[in-house]
């Protein structure tokens, strides 16, 4: 737990390093968004991977999740499950469109 003075002193350097890394990754994301990959979906995937890396850095280091208590991890595990379910709902509904007398109402 980052409660003792030495641990906090050590992490200060890391806060600035991670901050610089985040800005670097942001610039990289902007640059890569102008590079046209074979499909636009690939661009989106690359962008989201970079965003996830940035989010992980913020969560683990700035939000101290790298050394948190088990109870917090349990709360977050529930959150992850529910968010995944939320996005899976979309996948299911997209693959199960409304039909009226054989007419499809979704974009194929």
């Amino acid at each position: 737990m980052a409660d003792n003075v030495e641990a906090i002193q050590k992490s200060i350097k890391w806060y600035f390093i991670i901050g610089a890394l985040l800005i670097l990754f942001s610039g990289l994301t902007v640059g890569l968004s102008y590079v046209e990959l074979p499909t636009h979906s690939l661009n989106i995937i690359v962008g989201m991977i970079l965003a996830t890396i940035k989010a992980a850095l913020v969560a683990l280091i700035f939000m101290h999740l790298s050394h948190e208590r088990p109870l917090i991890y349990k709360v977050l595990a529930f959150t992850v499950v529910f968010v995944l379910a939320l996005f899976l709902l979309f996948v299911f509904s997209h693959g199960d469109p409304l039909e009226f007398e054989g007419m499809y109402l979704h974009n194929e």
């Binding site: 906090i8 200060i12 917090i72 709360v75 977050l76």
Partner: protein, 452 residues
């Protein structure tokens, strides 16, 4: 009363109260924004129009990203400095964090204002013209004398209210006078109207009619000016207001003066023959449009010879969404549409009369019959702007609230700073966790809305 575990951790969980509380709260916030991101996915996948990519100001968005990242560093530094009892540094870092929030919201205001002032007009053939309305857009009606007022007997959503729905759009400076059917001269205000409608309703109930009606005649012909959304409808000789009141007169002008900065022909079967290049509008720009299209098609062919042109949304946009950067088309052989220098075209004559000072864009005067739909860049325009404003608006609200909480700790918690800094450190840590969550949301928002 002393609440336990606000400063020191509970021995069984190893956590102080606020830490558990804030993580539970953040879990709920994840679901809130997750729902909205889900909406973004639905809207994007289901869109029946080209989803905007790189249409927003990427530079401003990137500046905001850097500002939020910096504030994330300073807020965790503020906590660290407080834990180390370096109160001066704590204050400085907290102040910078709140300042960054202010900068972020200021940039957001600039972005939003630009969207409110920018318009997209859909023409009858599917072309979109984008630009600004230097004189706004109003329908002008004149020679209006006779008004027909209808008040339903039964409680109805639409009932005459000329004071609220007719008078505000009269262009006369002095209060107009009206004559009733029995020749009495009145100034129309709430009290007079109440009298007149009561009389009309009484008559209607006696005659077993469903609505009371009466006519008012203006003593002098009136002129009206109103935005299309402010009235119900009109023809060449009559105008209907939103309260059901109708009036006879003459349509003076319903043309739209638009300063055009873009021609989007992606929804047109034959882009080269778009209505935008009609002889009344921008015929001189057709050559430049075609040249731009050919240029981008050729470049795509050169760089990606094996790729399908129809499947590249970027190519469709570069070749068919033509941006205008000058008042007159660039000379043939010169820079294709884009890259034309600003400011160099001062005082160039525009097709329909020059604006004062520099003209950076051509002006067109659109006839109403050619306009299917128009809107500024707000949720009314399409679902992209709907989800853009929803997501960034809610995120902006979170930025403001987070900044207020952190500012409160900085300004008003000095007693705690002096006597119980460990407790304040916990508060700052918890406020910082909320702030980092706000930054996390932006980390996903920025690429999804601005870049991808």
């Amino acid at each position: 009363m002393d609440i336990p575990y606000t400063v020191h951790a509970r021995p069984d969980t190893g956590l102080y109260n606020a830490k558990i509380g804030v993580w539970l709260f953040l879990a709920s916030e994840v679901m809130l924004f997750g729902g909205l991101f889900s909406a973004y996915i639905f809207l994007r996948v289901g869109a029946d129009y080209p989803w905007p990519v790189h249409d927003l100001d990427v530079t401003l968005g990137f500046i905001n990203t850097v500002v939020l990242i910096a504030s994330s560093v300073t807020v965790v530094m503020a906590w660290a400095m407080l834990k180390l009892r370096k109160f001066g540094w704590y204050r400085i870092n907290m102040a910078i964090t709140v300042l960054c929030a202010g900068v972020f919201m200021f940039n957001k205001t600039l972005e939003y204002k630009a969207k409110f002032a920018h318009y997209a007009v859909k023409l009858s053939d599917g072309t979109f013209l984008t630009g600004h309305l230097p004189h706004g857009y109003q329908v002008k009606f004149g020679d209006v004398t006779e008004f027909a007022i209808t008040i339903p007997v039964k409680n109805s959503a639409v009932t005459a209210d000329p004071v609220g729905y007719v008078l505000p759009y009269i262009e006369e400076s002095t209060a107009p006078k009206f004559k009733t059917e029995d020749g009495k001269e009145v100034t129309l205000d709430k009290a007079t109207f109440a009298e007149l409608s009561a009389a009309a309703l009484k008559k209607a109930e006696a005659e077993k009619k469903s609505a009371g009606t009466f006519k008012l005649t203006a003593t002098a012909p009136l002129k009206f000016a109103a935005k299309p959304s402010e009235i119900f409808g009109y023809t060449d000789t009559s105008i209907t207001f939103r309260d059901g009141t109708t009036a006879t007169g003459k349509l003076i002008d319903d043309k739209m003066t638009l300063e055009v900065d873009g021609i989007d022909a992606r929804g047109v079967a034959q882009p080269d023959n778009s209505l935008a290049f009609d002889h009344r509008y921008l015929p001189d720009w057709q050559k430049a449009f075609v040249a731009n299209r050919e240029h981008h098609l050729a470049e795509f062919e050169k760089n990606y010879p094996t790729r399908d042109k129809a499947r590249s949304a970027t190519l469709q946009k570069e070749s068919l969404y033509f941006k205008l950067h000058s008042a007159t088309p660039p000379a043939e052989g010169a820079a294709h549409g884009e890259g034309a220098k600003h400011g160099a075209e001062a005082h160039s004559p525009t097709p329909h009369g020059a604006e004062h000072g520099e003209a950076h864009h051509p002006t067109v005067i659109l006839e109403k019959k050619d306009i299917t739909f128009f809107s500024n860049f707000t949720p009314k325009l399409n679902t992209y702007y709907a989800i853009y404003f929803t997501l960034t608006g809610l995120h902006g609200a979170h930025v403001v609230i987070g900044a207020l909480v952190l500012a409160y700790f900085l300004v008003f918690d000095n007693k705690r700073l002096k006597h119980d800094p460990e407790h304040l450190a916990n508060r700052v840590e918890v406020g910082g966790l909320f702030w980092h969550f706000v930054d996390l949301v932006w980390i996903f928002l920025f690429p999804l809305l601005y870049l991808l």
